[in-house]
Every structure is written in structure tokens, then in C-alpha cells.
């Protein structure tokens, strides 16, 4: 607790099983900043300018309220069944945050990393995160994961990428495929995903579904080069084109719908 590890020729802090590392700073080390074994807890720590990863955690670890900035590897690299909460990962030379299978990432930010903002293995839950201006994908998840209530913006490639069997819900994806990149707001590579209630704006493609068997409902896409690109044999609510809304103003307590649809599962272009 409360240690400083700086300019060491290997990792700054390296722990065994079941340790707690709190309020520590690890900077300019030739290895990782803080490296923990299975079952450890890391809280309130900063990892800055280390030659490998900022934080490198094995399985079953928690990392909370930490900052990892300008490391030569991954900002936070965590094994299986880890929880990452309220952490900031910025300007790392690889990914911002990477978690293994069965992990949870909540209230984190990943910005300007030279890789994916947040990437996870199977069966993870990512909620209320922000992935901003990363040079690859904003958020990348694999099978059986959930991405909810996140914001992905100005990433060079896709905003959110999932493989199969994922839930992608309530996210805001804006201006991905940024600069010279090519990207969609949401890009589903595989089958059997639920894509619901998302808002995708200003990318090369709004929602891009490569495979079959996904459910796409209650989403809204606007100002993309192509709002909707979906392979055959998917299940989706009607896509209502409201790019020219042409509705009157409203002042008062009632008005007829301007949705042009009463279908609760309708998707909209507007």
C-alpha cells in the first residue's frame, strides 16, 4: 500500500496470490508497472510510461479507480473473471483495456490508445464505458458478451465490434471510421446477436451485420454513408426512413405520432 516503483529494470510491482495493491504509483519501469497474480485487488494506482503494460493482472483480479497512461504495451491487461471499474486508460501504445473471459468492465474510459480501446474475450459485460479516438476499434467483444450504455466516438475503425451471441444495447456510437479509417457504428461479425436500442451516427456504416440470425430492433441510425448494411436471414424490426421528418412543431400537451410506425420494434433512419 502506498508504494512507489520507478525506473526498475523489470516490473515496478510484482505480487503473489491474493494481494492488495493500493494507492501505488509505478512509472518508467522496464517491465510492467504493476503485475499481480491470481486473486489480487488493485485500487487507486497509477501506471505511467512503463515499457510493457501499465497493469498486468492474472485471473480473478479487481482493478478499480486506477489510471494507466502512456505505457508501451496495454494500459490494463487482465486475465479471466476480472472486474475493471472506474479506470482510465489513455495514450497507451497498444490496447487501452483488455480482459479475459467472464470479466466485467464498468465506468471506464479508453482514449487515444494505439490499438483497441476496450477488448474482451468471451462472456464479458461492458457497461457505461467511453471509448474515444482509439486508432483501431472502440470496443471489441467476443461471443456471449454484453455491451450496454457505452459511448464510442471518433475511433479509426468500428465503434463496437462483436462476434456472435452478444447483446449490444443502449449504446451511442458517433463518428467512428474517423479520419482515414473505415468503420461502422456497430459491426456484428457473427450470428445470433441482439442489437437493441442503439444510436449510430456519422460513420461509414451505421449498423453493419455480416452474418445471419441476429435480432436488430429499436435502433436509430443517422448521417452515416450507409445507415444499414445487413446480411440475409436476420430478424429485424421495420426500418423506417425518417431522414426527412417533415413534422410540424409541437407546443402543448398532445400531438399525433410522427414516427410513421406503431411497431414497437421499429428501427429508424433519421
Amino acid at each position: 500500500m502506498g508504494c512507489i516503483a520507478s525506473s526498475n529494470t523489470d516490473d515496478g510491482i510484482n505480487t503473489g496470490l491474493g494481494c492488495t495493491v493500493a494507492d501505488c504509483s509505478a512509472s518508467f519501469n522496464s517491465g510492467s508497472g504493476i503485475k499481480t497474480s491470481t486473486g489480487c485487488r488493485v485500487a487507486g494506482c497509477a501506471a505511467y510510461h512503463n515499457a510493457v503494460d501499465g497493469f498486468e493482472s492474472s485471473d480473478n483480479c479487481t482493478v478499480a479507480n486506477c489510471s494507466t497512461y502512456s505505457n508501451a504495451g496495454i494500459g490494463i491487461s487482465a486475465g479471466d473473471s476480472c472486474t475493471i471499474s472506474a479506470c482510465s486508460a489513455g495514450t497507451n501504445t497498444s490496447h487501452g483495456i483488455r480482459v479475459g473471459s467472464g470479466g466485467a468492465v464498468t465506468h471506464c474510459t479508453a482514449f487515444s490508445n494505439t490499438g483497441v480501446g476496450i477488448t474482451s474475450s468471451a462472456g464479458c459485460v461492458l457497461t457505461s464505458c467511453s471509448a474515444y479516438k482509439n486508432t483501431q476499434i472502440g470496443i471489441n467483444v467476443t461471443q456471449g458478451s454484453t455491451v450496454a450504455d457505452c459511448s464510442t466516438t471518433f475511433n479509426t475503425l468500428d465503434g463496437i465490434v462483436c462476434t456472435f451471441g452478444c447483446v449490444i444495447r443502449g449504446n451511442s456510437c458517433e463518428k467512428n471510421g474517423f479520419s482515414d479509417g473505415d468503420g461502422a457504428g456497430i459491426h456484428a461479425l457473427g450470428a445470433a446477436n441482439l442489437i437493441e436500442g442503439n444510436d449510430c451516427t456519422g460513420a461509414d456504416r451505421g449498423i453493419d451485420v455480416n452474418s445471419s440470425g441476429s435480432i436488430i430492433v429499436r435502433n436509430a441510425c443517422k448521417m452515416n454513408t450507409l445507415n444499414w448494411v445487413m446480411a440475409a436471414n436476420n430478424v429485424f424490426g421495420p426500418i423506417i426512413d425518417r431522414t426527412i421528418p417533415a413534422s410540424p412543431a409541437v407546443s402543448g400537451n398532445s400531438a399525433p405520432s410522427s414516427l410513421d410506425s406503431t411497431d414497437p420494434n421499429a428501427n429508424f433512419s433519421y
Partner: protein, 503 residues
């Protein structure tokens, strides 16, 4: 006549026993071979250290006393300085100087009280005394290449330089530095400063270079910053009060925990990129309460009554579990791509929470702020928040925002405001807006508005043309029967799942 009983038996027995014991302690009655030799400890063995005096440690052109050999040294009295000389010059490694509770008192034009002069000196300790009014630093163990030193139990005051200066990898503990013209305590790279105080110094109270650790220290009424720490440092358990500049000024990759900053003339806490700030309180500072650069994590902090914004961050930061109350400007202001969660902002002089582009604001409360409760610029998400009794809007957003599942009540309090006020191309879903001048107000086009409820507003819905919205069902006068049982027909007045309601 009866003979008196002999009452001397016990004392005689005790005397015999004592004599016998003494004889046993005195050793063998047959002495060992060889000449008689003493068995007591010598004075040198009792006090093996070297006294600092003109005989043992004579001075030279620039020192009153000069230590040129490794060893342990001690003072036998106060030292009165003279101009152009330092009090004690240390010119060797492996030296410990015990000031022995005495006072080194300098004069104008003198040099340091205690100073290391040889480049690369290491393993020097100075302990237990008072060093004051010297023309340079009070204690200076910070010449080029000086490392691995210790300064402990030293009081340094009134020196024309710093009170205490420590070289790389040194420790400074249990010291007090006051009224020095320069900094109170200067620590080089990789030092530890613990249990010290720095007050009324002309520069920074306690300053540490890269990778320093400062714990349980206080900095009070210094003319510069209370604390200054370069990159990769840690501050824990420290207090910075009434310093003229910033309370705690930190570099990149630092951690600040369990600290307080009170009534500093500048900001309470300032950090550079990639730092963490946790469990701190900042109160009544003349600048920001907490100000961070990119990529910082701020958690479980409180910012109260600071002269500008309570908590302000640049891009890519996370804020969690913080409160901002009664700050003169906004409560919380975050830059691009930040997340703000589980925070509260109350009675601030401008916005409660203000987020730049592409932020996520979730699970927050903004109450009684003098401008908007929550303002979010383009591309941000505001969800599951409560905004009440703010002077202007409850939630106000720029373009392409997602405003979802918020509860906005009694906004436009003493002013004119809407529960939710959006510009263009935003998604406004599942919110409840009540008792404001306007429930949901949309001034631009292309917004997507559905599944919201508005009630008791002067005007529930103010939507500009060319927006997309579910039907707005006026339920204010629709009667419905009471229900007692296990079933009832709908009283919604619509089966449209995207309907908005006035009720």
C-alpha cells in the same frame, strides 16, 4: 532475669548470605595467570562516536567544522555561524552526524548549516537538532550525485535557502521546516518524506522530484505551493492549507489519496495526465477544487465552496462517487470522452455537471444549481440521472446525444427552464419531466423522442418542426377507475409502445 531473645538472627543470616554472594561475584580466590588488567569499559567504548570540535573535525576556508572520514559524529554544544562559512561540511560517505539536540545558528552571509560538498557522496545521516538562520540551506544533502541519505528529527527555520534538501533515494522523517526563504523541504528523485511539516516558507512547502513518496505531511501558509510532486509520485495522508498558490501540485502518473486542501490561494489539487485522485476533500480554495489533465481517475472526492469549479478534468477521465457542493462556478466540468458516475452536484454557481463532447454521465444527481443541472455537449449520453430545482434546465444537451431514463423535476426554479432541453439529432427516451416551465423542449430537428412522460409543466412539450416522435397522449383529463383485484383493462389510451404521455 530472663535473657532477651536474640533479635539479630535474621540480619546476621542476611549478612552472611550477602557476604557469601559477594565472595561468589568477586570470582575465584585464585587469580588467573598474567598481569592484572582492567575489566571496565573505556570512555571510547561508552561513547565510540567522534565529537565535532576543532581538534577532531577542524574547519577550513568555507566551513567551521569539516568531516572528512566515515564514522559517527556528535555535537557537544551549539554552533554559532560566521559569514562565508558553513556550519558543518561533510566530505565523506558513511557519515552520521547527531546534532544531539543542539542548535546550529547561522548569520547573514553564511553558507549552509550542514552541507555535503563532494559529488557522489552517499549514506549520510543528519539527525536530532535545530538548524536556523543560515545563508544557504539549513541542511543540504543534495549536491550532485548525493544519494541514500537520511534526515530525521531536524528543525529547520529561517534559512535563506531551503530548510532541508535531500539527494536521490533519501528519507526525510519527523522534520519541521518553517519560514525558510526557499522551500521548506526539497527532495530529489526517489525520496520518501514522512511525518513532516512545512509552514510559512517563501517557496513550496514540500517539493519532491520524480518517484517520490510523501505521507502524513502538512504544508501550511507557504508562499508557493503547499506540495509539489513531479511525475510518478505518491501523496497520501497530507494536508495543504492556506498556501498562496496550489495546495497539491502533481505531475503525471501520480497518486493522491486521503488528502485535504483547504483555503489555498490557487487550486486545491492539480494533477497532470494519468494520475489518480481518491478520497480527498478540497474546500474553500481560490481556484479549482480539483483540476486534472488527461486520463485521470477521480474517485470518492468532495469539492466544497471553491472559487471556480469544484472538479474539472480534461479528456478521457473517470469520475466516480464525487460530490461538488456550493462551488462558485460549476460543480463538475469534464472534457471530451469522460465518464461521470454516481456523483452529486448541488447549489453550485453555474452548472451542476457540465460534460464536453462524447461523455457518459450516469447515475448522478444535480440539484439546486444556478444554471443547468446537467449540461452535455455533442455526442454524450446522460442516463439514469436526477436533475431537480435547478434555475434553468434539468438536462440540457447538444447534438447527437442520448438522453435516457432521467428524472427531471422542478427545474426552471426562480428562472426559466425545461426538464430536458435538446438541440438536434438526439435520442430522448424513457425520461420523466415534471413541474418545470417546459417538460421536454427541442429546438433543432431530427430528434427521436419516444416513451417519455411529462406532467405538471407549464407546457409539457415544445418540439420544433421536423422531429420524429411517438404519439403524445394527453392523459391529464382521462378518467380511469380505481383497481382492486387481479386484472384491469389499460388506461393508457394507446397501444403504441413508443407513445409519450402528458399526465
Amino acid at each position: 532475669m530472663n535473657a532477651r531473645p536474640i533479635h539479630v538472627t535474621l540480619p546476621i543470616c542476611a549478612a552472611v548470605l550477602a557476604a557469601g554472594a559477594w565472595l561468589a561475584y568477586a570470582g575465584d580466590l585464585i587469580p588467573p595467570a598474567g598481569p592484572v588488567a582492567p575489566t571496565h569499559k573505556t570512555l571510547t567504548e561508552i561513547e565510540p562516536r567522534t565529537a565535532v570540535n576543532a581538534t577532531n573535525t577542524p574547519g577550513d576556508a568555507d566551513s567551521l567544522f569539516k568531516i572528512s572520514q566515515a564514522g559517527s559524529y556528535y555535537l557537544m554544544g551549539n554552533i554559532q555561524g560566521i559569514a562565508a562559512k558553513r556550519g558543518i561540511e561533510i566530505a565523506a560517505s558513511g557519515v552520521k552526524v547527531d546534532l544531539n539536540g543542539f542548535d546550529l545558528f547561522g548569520v547573514p552571509g553564511s553558507l549552509e548549516g550542514v552541507g555535503v560538498t563532494v559529488i557522489g557522496t552517499r549514506n549520510v545521516a543528519v539527525v536530532n537538532g535545530s538548524v536556523r538562520n543560515w545563508g544557504g540551506d539549513g541542511v543540504s544533502l543534495a549536491a550532485i550525485g548525493v544519494t541514500n541519505c537520511r534526515i530525521q528529527d531536524v528543525l529547520a527555520s529561517g534559512n535563506a535557502g531551503a530548510g532541508i534538501s535531500a539527494g536521490q533515494g533519501s528519507t526525510v522523517t519527523d522534520c519541521a521546516a518553517a519560514s525558510n526563504t526557499g522551500s521548506g523541504i526539497n527532495a530529489n528523485t526517489g525520496c520518501t518524506v514522512a511525518d513532516c511539516s512545512a509552514s510559512f516558507n517563501g517557496g513550496t512547502g514540500i517539493s519532491t522530484s520524480t518517484a517520490g513518496a510523501v505521507s502524513n505531511c502538512s504544508a501550511y501558509h507557504n508562499t508557493g505551493n503547499g506540495f509539489f510532486a513531479a511525475d510518478g509520485c505518491k501523496l497520501a495522508g497530507c494536508m495543504a492549507n492556506n498556501n498562496t498558490a496550489t495546495g497539491l501540485s502533481m505531475g503525471s502518473g501520480c497518486t493522491v489519496s486521503n488528502c485535504s486542501a483547504y483555503q489555498n490561494g490557487g487550486s486545491g489539487i492539480i494533477t497532470n495526465g494519468g494520475s489518480t485522485v481518491s478520497n480527498v476533500s478540497v474546500f474553500g480554495n481560490g481556484g479549482y477544487g480539483i483540476s486534472t489533465s488527461d486520463g485521470c481517475s477521480v474517485s470518492n472526492c468532495s469539492a466544497y465552496n471553491n472559487a471556480i469549479t469544484g472538479i474539472v478534468t480534461v479528456a478521457g477521465c473517470t469520475l466516480g462517487g464525487c460530490s461538488a457542493y456550493d462551488n462558485i462556478s460549476s460543480g463538475i466540468v469534464v472534457g471530451t470522452g469522460c465518464t461521470v458516475s454516481n456523483c452529486s452536484a448541488r447549489q453550485n454557481g453555474e452548472d451542476g455537471i457540465s460534460a464536453d463532447t462524447n461523455c457518459v454521465v450516469a447515475d448522478c444527481a444535480a440539484v439546486e444549481n444556478t444554471r443547468d443541472g446537467i449540461f452535455a455537449y455533442n455526442g454524450s449520453t446522460v442516463s439514469d440521472c436526477s436533475a431537480a430545482l435547478n434555475t434553468l434546465d434539468g438536462v440540457s444537451c447538444g447534438a447527437s446525444c442520448m438522453i435516457r431514463d432521467n428524472n427531471c423535476t422542478f427545474n426552471g426554479n426562480t428562472g426559466s427552464g425545461a426538464g430536458i432541453h435538446a438541440s438536434a439529432h438526439s435520442r430522448i427516451e424513457g425520461n420523466n419531466c415534471a413541474s418545470a416551465d417546459r417538460g421536454i423542449q427541442v429546438t433543432g430537428l431530427g430528434n427521436f423522442i419516444f416513451r417519455n412522460t411529462c406532467s405538471l409543466n407549464t407546457s409539457d412539450w415544445e418540439l420544433g418542426p421536423n422531429n420524429i416522435f411517438g404519439p403524445i397522449v394527453d392523459h391529464r383529463q382521462l378518467p380511469s377507475a380505481s383497481v382492486s383485484g387481479f386484472s384491469a383493462s389499460s388506461s393508457l389510451g394507446t397501444t403504441d409502445a413508443n407513445a409519450n404521455f402528458s399526465n
